[in-house]
Structures are given as structure tokens and as C-alpha cells.
Symmetry: C2
Subunit: 213 residues, 2 copies
């Protein structure tokens, strides 16, 4: 069995926090980073369509430029890793076709009917703006999965909506890749000086958040 | 240490799938369910504002009614548990104030400046529709966290966007609670007859999904 105990889950979810200062000297090992990339790849999505790419920015000069597009938040440059969660800008029927091909490659079975269900849902009843909103929702599943996966491995992370997506797209050349940045996460290890690490976690009480009917 | 190994993470993320048929006889233990509710409560959100509630529907008659509002997907009635991920409908400055109070209750420190930052971001530059979109993004972080947490514990789950949110709100009386349903997840244990359990997982290759710059 590779399941974990309730206590492990609880402890790691309590351990994580939105890391404010990363130790710039501590890097995530290539093995751990590969596991986190795999967790991104395995994220579930609507119909399984994966309307996204995950842009991992390693080049220091790019990371420094992105600080200016992130309201000067230093995590963007100091953290071991930076992932930009980006959606496919003009999600099209060709993307559905690529996915259908991927299903039949992997499973070796025909899936013709599924194509029509997806096209019906995404192209007959939604316009481009509604499709972008749909893709925007999916990418937050990936963010949630990434943050939890990182916590399980003992890797610190910080989700960041406080970025200027258009500037990110420009600095990283995402337009040319057919992508739009939505949200980012930094990952690495907390600095000893990060005062947020010691603060008690603030959440509404379970009784205020869970409604049982 | 309560961290887990890369192999555990990878195996559990591969093990999970969107469960199509649940075993109606197998219930999640109260202890495991409490751990999953805790994972929902601990989900990170923008500014920590938690613009949500998680509606756990246990009443069989309600679950049956919801099947009709879910394009007849039986998971909604058959799974051990059903969670409706709902956002606060009219997220207001009073919600920000409640959160500020919660911070100062937990941490015992004044946080006056933070109030203005949040109000500036959410009420000065966004209208009600943009705030609902913002809350809608956050709730998908909770969905991603929930699915991964369930997988870690060996609990099956199925995220479901194929619901009629307005009918859900009506059946569950969510309007009166100031909530709007967005997406649901069923959780429990796969039925031995679920043919989807044995299918190979379909994901685009890492090289097609991860862009390294």
C-alpha cells in the first residue's frame, strides 16, 4: 500500500503555508521536482481535456524580469522553482481531436461518441469567452493539486494571483506559444527569516465552512 | 517526519481516476471523512479569504433528487459522500471584516493595513461579476486539494462539472444560505464493476505539457 495516514495528511496540510521568503540557496532536488512535474501532468480536468501548459521558468534573468510583473514580490526570483499556470488561448476543436487521438493511442479503443459530447458541451453552447473561463477553472485544479502534492513531499510553495498576466505573457513569449498565464506558484524551501512560517494558520471553523444536509 | 515519498505520491496520483461507479455498500469511515473535511477547511485561497462553503449532502432523498439535476449520473446517489463546492453569492466587505476578525482572534495581532489591501483589490477594481469569477477560481483550488487528499488516503472520488447549478441551489436551499453551487465531487469506493478503473490513464506527455524556459 502506498496510501498515507490521516495524521500524515493533516500534519502536512497544517505544515504548509504561503511561503513569503524562500531560502535562495536551497534548491528542490531534480528527483523531487520531477515528481512535482508529474503531479501537474496527472491533474484531472473536465473531460480529461487538459487545456493547459505549465511553464517552468528557470532562467534567472527571466525570473528577475518577472519580479517587476509581480508587484515586486521577491519569491518569484528567490524560490527554487517558479511555475506559471497557463491556459491554451484559443482552445479549439483541434485540441479536442488531439485529445481523442491521445485516448485511442493509449487505450487502443475507438472513442468517436466522446468527441461529439465534448464538442457539444464546449463549442455548441459556449463562446470563446466561456471556454476561456472553463479552462481558467481547470487550471486552478492543477494549482490545488500542485500545492497539496508539494506539501506531501515537504516542499514549500506559495500560490500567487498578484501578478500582471499580460506582462508575464510578454516577458515569457507565451502569446507565440498560444498560451495565457493565469496564476503562478513558487516552490522551494522557507527562509529561516520568514516570520510567516511561525504564525498560526487562520481558517474559519469547520462548523462555519462545512454545511451538512 | 510526516512527509511522504515521491513513490507514494506518484502511485496514489496514478491510482486515482474519475470513478464512474461507486460501491453503494461501502462507506467512508467517519475518521477518514473528518480528515477530508479538514483538508477542505485547510485549502489555501486568495488572501486567505475562503469565499466558500462545502455542502455535504447525506440525506438520501436529497441525493436522489440531485441525480436528476446531474444528467442522471448515479454517482451522486451511490457514492458514500457528496460535496457541493459553493461560493458565497454576494461576497461583501462584511466577509472581509469577518476574516480580519478571524486573523486577529487567532494571531492576536492587529491587521488593519491588510483590510485595505483586500478591499482595494476586491471592491475598488472589481465588480460583483468579477468577484464571483474570483471566488469561482478559489473553489477549484479546494476541488484540486480534495481530490489529491482523497487519493492520498486511498479514497476514490469523481469531480463533476456536469450538473445544473441552479437546480442544485434550488433542491438544497442554497440561495437562502447565500451560496451558489459551482462544482461537485463524489467520494467513496469504486465498484468492482466499474470498467473505467482498469483503463490506462490518458494524459498528454510531459514534454507536451511542461514548457521549460
Amino acid at each position: 500500500m502506498s496510501t498515507i495516514t490521516r495524521e500524515q495528511l493533516s500534519r502536512q496540510l497544517h505544515w504548509r503555508y504561503a511561503t513569503n521568503q524562500f531560502d535562495p540557496q536551497r534548491k528542490i532536488s531534480p528527483e523531487d521536482w520531477a515528481a512535482l512535474e508529474e503531479s501537474l501532468v496527472l491533474t484531472p480536468s473536465s473531460f480529461g481535456l487538459q487545456p493547459w501548459k505549465f511553464v517552468v521558468v528557470n532562467t534567472p534573468a527571466l525570473r528577475e524580469k518577472l519580479v517587476a510583473a509581480s508587484y515586486r514580490q521577491r519569491q518569484v526570483a528567490d524560490a527554487s522553482h517558479l511555475v506559471v499556470f497557463a491556459i491554451k488561448k484559443n482552445f479549439s476543436e483541434a485540441d479536442v481531436a488531439a485529445y481523442i487521438k491521445s485516448i485511442s493511442d493509449v487505450r487502443g479503443i475507438p472513442v468517436a461518441g466522446y468527441h461529439d459530447v465534448m464538442v457539444g458541451s464546449l463549442f455548441k453552447t459556449r463562446d470563446a469567452a466561456a471556454r476561456a473561463a472553463w479552462a481558467g477553472h481547470q487550471i486552478y485544479i492543477a494549482l490545488g493539486n500542485f500545492l497539496t502534492s508539494a506539501a506531501m513531499l515537504g516542499v514549500d510553495a506559495c500560490p500567487m494571483e498578484g501578478i500582471q498576466p499580460a506582462k508575464y505573457d510578454d516577458i515569457l513569449g507565451l502569446d507565440a506559444l498560444g498560451l495565457s498565464s493565469v496564476v503562478v506558484a513558487t516552490a522551494g524551501y522557507r527562509a529561516a527569516t520568514d516570520k510567516y512560517a511561525a504564525l498560526k494558520k487562520v481558517r474559519f471553523a469547520k462548523a462555519d465552512v462545512i454545511v451538512t444536509l
